[in-house]
């Protein structure tokens, strides 16, 4: 059965003539890269997260059209000397048609984390959710349809048990790339239920009728090497790609997963009546307590559960790319007392996440951005505290790319406090990482129109006559992550990486 290394050798031989000296096709270089990895977290701002409702808020006094453009009262907006970022602390009594009061204070988050934030403005090419989501991770198919996650997994994950994990499913952010040359092990693996998933990472532990590890190994060997080859089915269909894939998974990938004791390391759930780990000879991860302190709602909030798993996947070097994000489901905290309307901040996730903006733009954007800031904050805290082993932290090697499909309409009915918006190609993206220039805005925003404008890819100088293309952001992210783009034809965007 061909191994990852064989695959890369074969691919290099087949495409070497055209691919130049790409590191991705050099198995020795990949092995080396896997010892010096970078990590990518794609945090999906599903539904259309508007950058001018995030770190590029526009104070009303700076706009020529404050009543009809999406601006905020000056007293709501917080800024910092020398920083390009401005955020609005917002409160209200309803989220669109939902009578739920909310109050968010993103300024406290930016107070702590803006030094690790770069915003790059962007003008996309689709206002269709699924299409734009995909383009957010492929740069509009900028490099043979490969996704950011695949490329990071390919370059840095050759030795990782499961290099590319998607904790969110069903979105364009999760689609596979279209380049058949991307090795299958770099493709995204969907994890639908983070709490139960570790149970699928060991063939026997925690089972009431378990056999010993040695016995299981003997059973598997007898099946794979003697019984199965004796069946007519296996002989007739031995060339089936599906059977070959299945048999490959039973080999090194299976061994890597089970040897790593992931059924324990990734088990963030605590031992309880509803999840009786100890009764079945299992235990929580040694990191479970630390994770649950940072993400206390892991049992109720799917996004926190994803974030907890994302951290564990990186900490234990299971993955080098993790994708997560809020779903489109309504999520409500029913622990508060109800007197008339719903309690303050009881809506954790409005229906359709950011896309609730069709009914309630200001409220929806404020609530969902705040939700994502919480995840970023928690992940940075955990990853910063994790020693990589060479004096640096895990965070020093990590990028959190807040991917979204598009922005929202920049205008509002005159003086409206909340209103509905459609989709707008014009927007920007947030990137939290020590690998990018911190407290930095690439591009800018016109306060009179709410539209963002681009920047010079080399110098980073804002350029009101330019817009930033998806491919440029894609290339800039890859550059910051140190992914070898030789032969890709992608533009070089040094302005997006820390010098």
């Amino acid at each position: 059965m061909p191994t990852r290394r064989d695959f890369i050798r074969g691919l290099a031989a087949a495409t070497g003539a055209t691919a130049g000296s790409s590191l991705l096709l050099d198995h020795r270089a990949l092995a080396q890269s896997s010892q010096d990895p970078r990590f990518l977290v794609v945090l999906c701002a599903s539904g259309g997260g508007s950058i001018i409702d995030g770190p590029l808020a526009i104070p009303a006094s700076t706009s020529a059209s404050p009543d009809t453009v999406n601006t905020f009262p000056d007293e709501w907006v917080r800024s910092w000397k020398g920083s390009p970022f401005r955020v609005a602390d917002v409160s209200g009594s309803a989220i669109g048609a939902i009578p739920a009061s909310y109050a968010v204070q993103p300024s406290t988050f930016f107070e702590r984390r803006r030094s690790e934030l770069m915003v790059a403005t962007l003008t996309g090419t689709s206002v269709n959710h699924q299409v734009a989501q995909r383009r957010a991770v492929t740069g509009n198919e900028a490099w043979m349809g490969r996704t950011l996650q695949e490329l990071v997994a390919w370059q840095y994950g050759a030795e990782a048990p499961i290099p590319n994990v998607h904790l969110l499913a069903g979105f364009g952010f999760n689609e596979h790339g279209t380049d058949p040359d991307v090795p299958s092990w770099a493709g995204g693996q969907v994890v639908a239920n983070p709490a139960a998933w570790p149970l699928s990472l060991d063939g026997r532990r925690g089972q009431p009728h378990a056999v010993s590890a040695e016995v299981l190994a003997a059973i598997r060997a007898q099946r794979n090497e003697v019984f199965e080859p004796a069946t007519r089915f296996d002989r007739v269909f031995q060339a089936s790609p599906r059977l070959l894939e299945w048999k490959d998974l039973r080999g090194t990938p299976q061994q890597r997963i089970e040897d790593a004791d992931l059924i324990t390391k990734l088990m963030y759930a605590s031992d309880s009546d509803s999840f009786p780990l100890s009764a079945f000879g299992l235990s929580s991860s040694p990191s479970a307590q630390a994770v649950r302190e940072v993400f206390p709602d892991v049992d109720r909030d799917p996004l926190q559960a994803q974030a907890a798993m994302a951290y564990l996947l990186l900490k234990y070097r299971v993955s080098v790319s993790v994708t997560l994000g809020p779903g489109f489901d309504f999520l409500y905290d029913d622990s508060g007392a109800t007197t008339g309307d719903l309690p303050l901040n009881s809506v954790l996730n409005p229906p359709l996440a950011f896309d609730v903006s069709h009914q309630g733009h200001r409220a929806g954007q404020a609530v969902v951005w705040n939700r994502l800031y919480g995840v970023v904050d928690g992940l940075i805290s955990l990853l910063s505290a994790e020693d990589y082993g060479d004096g640096s932290s895990l965070w020093d090697r990590t990028m959190i790319y807040v991917a979204t499909e598009f922005g929202r309409q920049k205008t509002r009915p005159a003086g409206a406090e909340d209103w509905g918006t459609g989709h707008d190609l014009n927007n920007g993206v947030m990137v939290f990482s020590p690998l990018v220039p911190g407290d930095t805005l690439r591009g800018g925003v016109d306060p009179d129109t709410g539209l963002t404008y681009g920047f010079d890819p080399s110098s980073g100088a804002p350029d009101p006559g330019r817009t930033t293309a998806e491919a440029e952001v894609f290339a800039g992210l890859l550059g910051a992550l140190g992914v070898d783009t030789s032969g890709s034809g992608l533009p070089d965007v040094p302005a997006m990486r820390r010098s």
Binding site: V190, A192, N193, S200, P208, H209, A230, A239, R242
Partner: protein
């Protein structure tokens, strides 16, 4: 003879004498080799039927979560459009799918063994009743044939029976309960073979 009749005659002859010359021992290899995975719930139904268990008796993670319809639903190729947005099975097998399959089969086969032990036996009766050495080997052959019959819905070949029976030799030195472990292991081998998992 009309030309088209001649062609049919030639085709018939080539089928009989052609280079493929497939026999029962050598079925040849499919050029298209197109197989599809059974979704977890289909495989689970086959497994439950073969082992004489109800589907919900096959495997419960932590005694709480049904392995096939809940804990490993997506891993085993299921769908869950309502809350997860997964309305198509995964395009490729999940990396942990073979492990999950082994896990479910171990639970189900172990459950069958325990129930047969308590009686009345459905599959492992011959092994449970056999006393002497020769009888015990024969019992294992009998159970092996039964496993293939019940889980793959066909008769076992000699080679297949031998492969299952020989597992005992591999376990004798490493197992504290070789009869039990052989029974569970032989059952797992059949239940997690590619023939059981794909169609």
């Amino acid at each position: 003879m009309r030309p088209d009749h001649l062609l049919l005659w030639a085709l018939g002859l080539s089928t009989l004498l052609g280079p493929a010359c497939k026999t029962a021992d050598d079925p040849g290899t499919s050029a298209k080799a197109r197989v599809m995975p059974k979704h977890g719930q289909v495989w689970g139904r086959d497994l439950a039927t073969g082992l004489g268990l109800q589907e919900w008796e096959l495997c419960q993670e932590l005694g709480q979560l049904d392995c096939i319809s809940d804990a490993h639903l997506i891993t085993l190729g299921g769908v869950e459009p309502t809350t997860l947005g997964i309305d198509q099975p995964l395009a490729n097998a999940a990396v942990s799918a073979p492990i999950a399959v082994d896990r479910v089969a171990m639970a189900a086969c172990g459950e069958r063994w325990e129930r047969d032990l308590a009686g009345p036996a459905v599959i492992f009766g011959a092994v449970l009743e056999a006393k002497a050495g020769a009888d015990r080997k024969k019992a294992r052959e009998e159970v092996s044939s039964l496993l293939v019959q019940r889980l793959l819905a066909r008769q076992a070949t000699k080679d297949e029976v031998a492969a299952l029976v020989d597992l005992y030799d591999a376990l004798e030195d490493i197992s504290e309960e070789p009869d039990r472990d052989w029974a569970i292991g032989a059952c797992m081998m059949v239940a997690t073979s590619t023939e059981a998992l794909f169609y």
